[in-house]
Amino acid sequence: MFETLSDRLSGILDKLTGRGSLSEADVDAALREVRRALIEADAALDVVKSFTDKVRARAVGAEVIRSVTPGQMVVKIVHDALVETLGADEGGLDLRAAAPVPILMVGLQGSGKTTTTAKIAKRLKEREKKRILMASLDVRRPAAQEQLAILGTQIGVDTLEIIAGQNPVTITQRAMDQARRGGYDVVMLDTAGRLHIDAELMAENAAVRDACRPHETLLVADALTGQDAVNLAKSFNEQIGITGIVLTRIDGDGRGGAALSMRAVTGKPIKLMGTGEKLDGLEDFHPGRIASRILGMGDVVSLVEKAAETIDHDKARKIAARMKKGTFDLEDMAEQLQQVVKMGGLGGIMGMMPGVAKMKKQISEANLDNKIVARQIAIISSMTKFEKANPKVMNASRKKRVAAGSGTKVEEINKLLKMHLQMADMMKKLGRNPGLMGKMFGGGGGPSAAEMERMQAELASMDPSKLPPEMRAMMEQSGGKAAALPDLSKLSQGLPGLGASRGLPGLGGNIFKGFPGLPGKKK
């Protein structure tokens, strides 16, 4: 359903290649598509308008850098402007106030307030060693107070004793009292969900605010919200006065235009994002990530993070050591294929890449996805230990046996062996380059946030038609017939820049190259 912005723009603007700068007409044509993309992403219409005006001012007359298409140029300008609007000035929670510091959580029904309250408490407790008291002021929804109490038990954070029949303001006073007496650093106040047009309940929120004088008042809002995001954010900000926004359900596949709407209409920073039902599903806000998502350009940062998370560091190190010696046997290869599977398979990996949405569909249609990898793993696991360590011994009769054992064909085994040879060859080359190896394995942490953002920006301006021919060739092949995987070894050649951006091997290692998981280094 969603075409990526670069797909669209390439159709409109690519014929302009060769001209020096973007004319007003070019920009207007492009901005119509930008507008569509933003609306499809649920960005509020008025916000879209002022945003496109800003982009227009920047884009008209902008020089098109020689090596990029005008489409890429516009996407870059749009992406940068979006990141800027979403707030490059990202800042976490501000707790610089006299203890106990009250944090008030407000929002519509079901937006995620209670869950987020517990998530924030967990984070402050673990990362900043804060003593926290949580209190639920939700006397309306069935079992709301119990919900917070249970979450408190799960994360080992105290909750205010539930006393039936008390009103929210009384509970607030009791919470503040207890926090003062008990020497707590932070008091988290979870409120009942309410509609921003419900005057009575908004007044109740205001009364609670006056009773605790919160240092942070966080609007918890669903990233899947549509055009209504402007109304709710505006109302909560005007009536209660918020200090920041928490965007929940960012783990969904919504495009997240509500982030742009709410940020623009309140001017308040988006401080955190909810990324799951679990209590560790809370992350700092990454404007670059949301910008790419709004523009339908995948989420490469997530990809990198996922790679870093999933890689089995010990195995990776072991394989790395073997590589240094120049050995890379089929066991190593199986290991590496398994890493791909762990990361959600090729489809999962590619789905997170910009401009690959279309290909993703084709991949699954071609049955390419995990099945190929699964089959390769099956082949290797049907081999004996000796065969895995010494692929050269694979003669016709051995191949027949393995084919029968893994339910595959001899040709498939031949292809696999060929692939292995090429990978091993590459490993050897790499193994002989101690400088590169040092950079890759020596570590120095994963990519920094800034590096990731930069990568993201680069990606944002990338054109899918510039994908390696192997990948495109693969996509063009459909049906059940043999299709070539992207030539992993060739892709690796494009990676010399990798040494420079330290830590990236996590990405290159697993996805593009024939590498075992290269350590992104554990913290």
Partner: protein, 375 residues
């Protein structure tokens, strides 16, 4: 714009390294489980059970029968109007603003389209309606009332076929599975639906198959108390499919009329959670091949374009038979329902207009359309 990705994708094909051919699996899905989310933390759940719950709410209605008299037809339309009033007045004052003594030209139509977009109708739908308004009226003077009427009739045209009242069938038990993303209003809607069944004199059992979220069981238990329905539950962390199976078994044994199954909120892009839903349905069918007899997708009216994906994926996985849209008492206009109806034609049974037991109203396409159009 050089840098990493440029290098990554801008490589030159090297001759000495021929493309690697990889076999494509024809059948044989190997057993690779891509676990995205680990199982619920059972150890922690056990602790959670120790939390002492206060006495059941005093407000619980011990006698289910008199639970809120059904509202008159005009009552709920009034209510819906009230709910939609703010939004529709914005919409209609917008229309009035555009069309008073104005010619229907391109700019005017563009403004109309914007008004529709603001109601979450989506680009395609807004475009379609705008065209319909322009049809044969281009360059003519048109008064605002006429525009509203056309707008309403165009919306109603799309919505009319999906206006299907919800009815409890004769199967015993009649099994209703309620699904949707997190926080949409599933549990609350179950309480409201159960109340209707109770008012019709039917016996109701609620199955607390959201075994994941903290206090989801307690929440449903409170609802059960309010409407006079038995609640079947297991400790948090239990297997939801197993619970569904046992609930159906017990409902059969006790000759219960209606079994309402609450499920955990899940985002449709989470394959493992969707597989769990599929499993619930499979185990139900082991006992009754026709169950579940209704699968209701609960959609939050504030949701934007993602609702389309929700409807698509939940239908695919769970075989949704109808939609209930909640939270129409806010300023969200629920315009996505219009695009949804056109796209999937799923029956829309009811709308949620508040948090209390009687805040569920039948879906009325005309009233909905007219309310959106500000008539």
């Amino acid at each position: 714009m050089s840098g990493f990705f440029k290098k990554l994708f801008g490589f030159k094909p090297a001759e000495e390294q021929p493309a690697i051919e990889v076999p494509v699996a024809v059948e044989a899905e190997a057993e690779i489980v891509v676990a995205v989310e680990p199982e619920p933390e059972i150890a922690i759940m056990a602790k959670a059970a120790e939390v002492i719950l206060p006495e059941p709410e005093p407000e619980s209605d011990p006698d289910p029968a008199p639970a809120a008299a059904p509202q008159a037809k005009t009552g709920w339309i009034g209510r819906l109007r009230q709910g939609l009033s703010k939004s529709s007045s914005v919409l209609s004052s917008g229309i009035t603003g555009i069309f008073s003594k104005r010619k229907l030209d391109k700019a005017t139509l563009e403004e109309l389209e914007e008004l529709l977009l603001k109601a979450d109708l989506g680009l395609d739908m807004a475009d379609r309606i705008t065209k319909a308004v322009g049809q044969g009226r281009y360059d003519r003077e048109i008064d605002p009332e006429e525009v509203k009427a056309i707008l309403a009739s165009e919306i109603a045209k799309v919505l009319k076929p999906v206006e299907v009242p919800f009815a409890f069938g004769g199967q015993k038990p009649f099994v209703v599975l309620v699904v949707g993303v997190n926080g949409a209003g599933k549990t609350t809607t179950i309480g409201k639906l159960g109340a209707i069944a109770r008012r019709e004199g039917l016996s109701v059992m609620l199955a607390a198959c959201d075994t994941f979220r903290a206090a989801a069981i307690e929440q449903l238990t409170v609802w059960g108390g309010r409407i006079g329905a038995e609640v079947m539950s297991r400790p948090q962390g239990a297997d939801s499919a197993g619970l569904a199976f046992d609930a159906l078994k017990q409902a059969k044994e006790t000759a219960t009329d209606i079994l309402l199954i609450d499920t955990a909120g899940r985002l449709q892009n989470k394959a493992d959670l969707m597989a769990e839903l599929d499993k619930i349905i499979r185990v139900l069918r082991k006992q009754d091949a026709t169950a579940p007899h209704a699968v209701l997708l609960v959609l939050d009216a504030t949701t934007g374009q993602n609702a389309i994906l929700q409807a698509e994926v939940f239908s695919k996985v769970a075989g949704v038979t109808g939609i209930i849209m909640t939270k129409l008492d806010g300023t969200a206009r629920g315009g996505i329902l219009v695009s949804l109806s056109e796209r999937f034609g799923l029956p829309v049974h009811a709308i949620g207009v508040g948090e209390s037991v009687d805040d569920l109203q039948p879906f009325d396409a005309d009233a909905f359309a007219r309310a959106i159009a500000g008539l």
